[in-house]
Symmetry: none
């Protein structure tokens, strides 16, 4: 199983911070490995305190199911096939901002979770981070 | 109280894996006894990590109420009579994939929970597993 | 990062059950992967219900620190350097019965946790299980 | 309230990693702010997985009581005045490796927690980190 290194995780966080600054937003950014264990985390100054946990849950949620968190959220709505899946795994976050991280070979090596702004911004920053090692 | 044996639980898991392979899916499969205690669990290689917990919660949920998890889910929707029942028992999972296991005498001896694909596949594999001891 | 397969985990559990039978004891046996995620679990008939959780915590504890759980326990006694480490990671179990699993190349690929008898028996069964794939 | 910035937290983590490398150890390093909220975290490659949580608990424990974690541990032994204080706050870690961080004016602005080696090494690395902004 391929796994992310700290060097890669730091590179990803730096790219995510750069993207956040370009958007003028304050983010919490978490990177987990392929086993969903935390590898690196940064909270930008004045970013929401409640997003510290959310960013980590988004990262884990993305890796738990190998898909963007927003996709899971679209299936967990009332009437949806995965309604209330959020009660599993000690709490999932299923709105956008969690994205898997792949290496150049296309293997999943971890995931990034971003929280601190609109879900559109959160996803854009996560995407910029995940893309930084390709 | 009739109760499942390890031998039966392993037979059920093997049948569930066989069904999963025929469907081309990677599943997490949990079997609990009549007291909702875990008896056996298998995670197929590359199955979703988030489904380890979900499969166990599905098995317990099915035995908690002696019905398929999907039926409970149909009653826990907004406006439904069991709205947000998922908050009980340390977290329930109420979409399909959890099925009670009965012996030949029709007594409930445990339950199986399956997670790793669509809820239709999850339920089909759980059903194949539960049927293996009849 | 090398990681255990389900086939290896099942082989390990079978060896652990065989050892348990030779000792005349009833065990709960859990195998986790290199990321501490559960891969396989078996509860022998009439094994202690309280050991379902303990066996899983032993397996995770061994992998968390890459050592036998009993070694950690010898350091976590009153006055010891790791006193009350058990309060971390959602609860550790630090008496014997948790052992890391290595592949033939000597890489850690997971861990086994056994609970259901004396700690001497628990450790002996865990050791027999971990040794089965070498 | 004086509070640590992300820039300071990153500086502290880099100093802690440098010290770890000079000691030949693999550490998990967490920095919390004056409100005990996580600001930055780094897990060095191959550092213990169980120390991800411990390093964060050490940092919070140090800031909870504004003292080195080892001092609290000396008071929480059997018969001591703070016996079993570890049960509070979602779990404390009270052996060495958590140290408060002060600014040049002597105000506490956060805390660092380090875990991954002996408690002596853990404390030395935490100390090196905390001293980096003075």
């Amino acid at each position: 199983m391929a796994n992310i290194t700290l060097e890669q995780a730091r590179q990803i966080i730096d790219a995510a911070i750069k993207k956040s600054e370009s958007l003028g937003v304050k983010m919490n950014i978490a990177v987990v490995d392929s086993g969903t264990n935390l590898v690196a985390f940064n909270k930008m100054d004045d970013a929401w305190l409640g997003s510290i946990d959310i960013s980590q849950k988004k990262a884990r949620t993305a890796r738990y199911f190998n898909m963007d968190t927003g996709i899971i959220g679209s299936l967990s709505q009332p009437g949806g096939s995965l309604y209330n899946i959020e009660h599993s795994n000690g709490g999932l976050i299923t709105f956008p901002g969690g994205v898997v991280i792949k290496n150049r070979a296309g293997e999943i090596i971890g995931a990034i979770g971003v929280s601190g702004s609109t879900v559109e911004d959160d996803h854009a920053v996560a995407d910029a981070g995940a893309g930084a090692i390709l």
